[in-house]
């Protein structure tokens, strides 16, 4: 059995989100915008090199709609 490790993913509370779009500006690698400006989050874990940017997107969201969730994954 492999050793469990964790990865993280970005999620949005769609009720709180008002399509300010800061997140899509900060990390277009993860966040796309639909035709109405609302974020579409790419599935899968946040690549480690983007993690700090993702944290910044969470901090700077005017509606506090973004959050980072820990997901269990089995190690390499």
């Amino acid at each position: 059995m492999p050793i469990a490790s964790f990865s993280y993913r970005l999620r949005v509370n769609p009720i709180a989100c008002d399509a300010f779009g800061y997140c899509a500006e900060l990390i277009p690698e993860i966040v796309l915008r639909d035709e109405w400006g609302y974020p579409i989050l790419r599935e899968g874990p946040i690549p480690p090199r983007l993690f700090e940017l993702a944290q910044r997107a969470v901090r700077e969201c005017p509606r506090r709609a973004l959050f980072i969730e820990r997901i269990a994954s089995t190690g390499p």
Binding site: P14, I15, C17, W36, F67
Partner: protein
Amino acid sequence: MTTTEPQVAASLRPRASRVLAAWHETGRSDIDGHLATHGSMPLPRRRDGAWADRLVEDVGAAGLTGRGGAGFPTARKLQSVRSGHRHPLLAVNAMEGEPASHKDRALLSGVPHLVLDGAELVATAIGAREIAVCVADDRNDSAKCVRTALSERARAGLSRLPTRVMRPPGRYVTGEESALVAWLAGGAAHPQFRATKGTPLTIRRQPVLVQSAETLAHIALIARHGPEWFRSVGPPDAPGTCLVTVSGPVANPGVCEVELGTPMATILERAGITAPVSALLVGGYGGTWLRSGLLHTPYAPGPLKTVACAVGAGVLAAIPTSSCGVSETARVATYMANESAGQCGPCVFGLHAVAQDLVQLARGENDSQALNRLTLRLGTVEGRGACGHPDGVVRLVRSALSVFAGDFADHARHRPCTGWNHRPILPVPPSAATAVGRWR
């Protein structure tokens, strides 16, 4: 307002009349008819942990799944609120926001005492001290039936727990359990965002168990007759009976009780088909269209899944070959877009855009990209709401695109049929009722 009290389809004397037995056998909905058919409810005299354990075990052994739409194993749901330290609240969900469904109205007008028996039994088993029967505020007839039944029970000395009739706003999504609980807590009846799926619902840390009226009626019977009896009809992996609302070109539209596993064609035949059927809407307005060639499929979760359908709210709405599936879907999608709680952008904007594409196609006023645009938008909207409302519309429209593919292609080539001007087959409540933001 559509307050015509629905009729339990009279001709449909089913082979397995269980939940509706008292109504079928005595023609009465009062306490005497109920007791004559079922006898008194097997409630212990005082708090009895062993009895409660056994009831939950029996519900589990019976294999009862929630009849409200999600189809979750009921025993697990009961168990989840029993472990806490606080006395939970039991909310009976008889909201029935689904315009094509009439089963909650049939239950409350025909067999209210069976539903209330189930509520009292479950409340006692989970240690709840009060029961809230939730009936939408535009269903005065149903609320009156519950109040009459409650006073009959009080007179007969049958009720032990305080039971209140609550009247949340009657909208499509207000019966969604998180919306219902938000309203019971004093807020707007809006679905809530739950970061983790299945997070227990609470009101100021008091756990709330939401059970559909039909599920409770089945529990009232399991408590009397045991799990083996319950499992004696229906397939082993989906035992028992369930209520379906049959509509369309049938002689006897209405609510009937069927054994799970009954072929849908048989259910329609029993209701007396009067015209050839082009497709069947299965589940509800967040359900799926089924092509008429697959009507022999057994009505049970497993077989339905193989044809991309689900039991959902128990709706079986047939449309005749003379009607237009594109127009029917466009009308329903427009209604569903108006029924968005207005919280999540992809639902607010996406459903209206999808509905608009559909209406343009139905009327033949579309540009050449309409079908592609619609298909792309369905992918955009899917999975991006706090509740399942937008996903239901996506499901419905995708199934329409597949079942009515030929019609959509014709419409897209600017050859609309005259369906848009026909009287709708599927009931769509008037827009005046839905345009006003009434959520409290």
